[in-house]
Amino acid sequence: MSQEMLTVLETKKRGKPALPKGVDDDLVRRMYRLMLTTRLMDDRAMRLQRQGRIGFYVPSIGQEACAVGSAAVMTDEDWCFPSYREPGAALTLGADLQAIVHEWYGNAADNTKGRQMPVHYSFKAQRFVSISSPIGTQIVQGAGAAMAMKIRGKKAFSITYFGDGATSSNDFHTGLNFAAVYKSPCIFFCSNNQWAISCPLSQQTASESIAVKAQAYGMPGVRVDGNDVLAVYQATSEAAERARAGEGPTLIEGLTFRIGPHSSSDDPTRYRPSEQLEEWQAKDPIARLEAFMKKAGLWEDAFGEPLVEEINASIAEAVKVAEETAMPASATLFDDVYADLPAHLAEQRDRLLQQEKTAGAAEMDADAAFPL
């Protein structure tokens, strides 16, 4: 296993830099826009959380290239099993900004019906599978979906996202092992941001890298500069080709960094050295893409402030609509536990509605706040 790392953006060659196979000028511009949108959503959501307008948030600042560059490879046949740090992938796959913002509010228009905390999206139309909080569970599910594709004879793949902490989970092990044994068409994308809440990578694993872990399963492992969206695209697209050709799974490690706190409840200054933060702030994936685009002659003036303003305006509009939307009704509590409502849930629902009539609705505890 070599520790080398794929990088594309800062080529040493002179002249107009070449684009990886499959990437054209438009795609570069699209990816820039997607990364910027992701960043601006994060900025806005973190402020909404501080203002007490939404309950919780998980930013992905600094990691946008991993999500966008890899999801850009997907077609309509491919499925995505994300973690909570891939809003960039959701946007790339076409998820609606308004739908995203509704989810932050958990209101009646949220397509998860206010059932989960903010950032636990579900976008069926985009094959962006419902996010859960338990770390790692999606990894083996992604392997299962890929097995299903193979059983059905599809030329498609699943891509599963997770963090460095998740490589310690049970499901990382079984997911990669099952995928390799069945040569299933899947891509395991680890966004190695080097921290799992307060635990640095060195407390997570003693291995040389995340990519080297692929050897334990007999699959290729690739390490890529995770703040280089073109490198991420290239590595993912090579893995996708292998998957579609029936050559089985790939583990991709995107080396990146969590610029922000773990979540809106976390204070990284308690545990994280500021030098490391500064080092990685200098490698900002959006700034690096901007520099590349300028060098490659792809930059347009409209990509500066005007674009920021345009995106911010649509986020503001979505927030406004979300805040004007009602909360889900009590009776919806009992929907979707099963396809049909069984008798015991009908009874519980009826009793609740009856009680709301006689004693009034339950009150929200204004003090309740998510501490983590």
Partner: protein, 324 residues
């Protein structure tokens, strides 16, 4: 109509549903060439190929986790857990993922799958080949929990479970895998999930039970009859959803209720039945609701026969209730 054991009925249901719906796939340890260690999946791989019935690496969390992924994608996986005692490594995927997928996605993603697993004692398997873990799953919203007591029900319930759009835990009472035979129709038929069965009519005392304990209770009923006591046996067939009315009606008639189950007592499903009866039929009760269960100890080896509730213990409880 062929006369089948419960095991053969399970096999027959799988054979039929795999023919019916090509989304049905069977996976697990040793289920392929070997046909499962109990032979429940015998012949499936030969008939439907390695794509539809296949062995897995030794990881229950992987079996269920990949099955969740397949189900979310659109298949109808029927994973086998070799013994229900080995289901615990998969607990997280079942409880956190399969059970909550529909709810947490607002109904966007679903997880139709049937986890088949032999359960219960009576085969001299000690701690780890004898447990009855159904209560863990009954306590988990989003899961259905089914346990047949006869070959006919085994086939019909398994077919219903495979066609169900939600995750179903299908516990097979392995003690009676081969000991009971019954006429079982060829071809597919459904026994609805959520409908109990009056296994035996009676007037003096209701006994609520499920799985292999139905047979034990039938033995007790014969002995009770000799003593002039008429036992009514309700075979629940499914714990979630539960056919409350079936046993409440019976208790209202007999005025007495005994619940019999192999599992440990504390928080077992027998406690749930007792709690429902004490909430909804207390005015009809002429005696305490009694539970006959496994002891609150791990399942033993040499003393298995002492641990497991037998006809004697059921009868003693029934007599106690009747003479109260």
């Amino acid at each position: 109509m062929p006369t089948l054991t419960l095991l053969q009925a399970v096999n027959s249901a799988l054979m039929d549903e795999m023919a019916e719906d090509e989304n049905v796939v069977v996976l697990g340890e040793d289920v392929g060439l070997n046909g499962g260690v109990f032979r429940a999946t015998e012949g499936l791989q030969a008939k439907y190929g390695e794509n539809r019935c296949f062995d897995t690496p030794l990881a229950e969390s992987g079996i269920i986790g990949t099955a969740v992924g397949m189900a979310v994608y659109g298949l109808r996986p029927v994973p086998e857990i070799q013994f229900s005692d080995f289901i615990y490594p998969a607990f997280d995927q079942i409880v956190s993922e399969a059970a909550k997928m529909r709810y947490r996605s607002g109904g966007e993603f679903t997880c139709p799958m049937v986890i088949r697993t032999p359960s219960g004692g009576g085969i001299r398997g000690g701690h780890y080949h004898s447990q009855s873990p159904e209560a863990y799953f009954a306590h988990t919203p989003g899961l259905k929990v089914v346990m047949p007591a006869t070959p006919y029900d085994a086939k019909g319930l398994l077919i219903s479970a495979i066609r169900d759009d939600d995750p179903v835990l299908f516990f097979e009472p392995k003690r009676i895998y081969r000991s009971i035979k019954q006429d079982v129709p060829e071809g597919a038929y459904e026994v609805p999930i959520g409908k109990a069965r009056v296994a035996r009519e009676g007037t003096d005392c209701t006994v609520v039970t499920w799985g292999a304990m139905v047979e034990t209770c039938e033995k007790a009923a014969k002995q009770a009859e000799e003593k002039g006591i008429s036992m009514e046996i309700i075979d629940l067939r499914s714990l979630v959803p539960l056919d409350e009315e079936a046993f409440l009606e019976s208790v209202r008639k007999t005025g007495r209720c005994v619940v019999a189950s192999e599992a440990p007592r504390i928080c077992g499903f027998a406690s749930e039945v007792a709690a429902i009866v004490s909430e909804k039929a207390i005015e009809s009760l002429e005696a305490p609701v009694l539970r006959v269960t496994g002891f609150d100890t791990p399942f033993p080896y040499s003393l298995e026969h002492v641990y497991m509730p037998d006809a004697k213990r059921v009868l003693a409880a029934v007599e106690h209730a009747v003479n109260f």
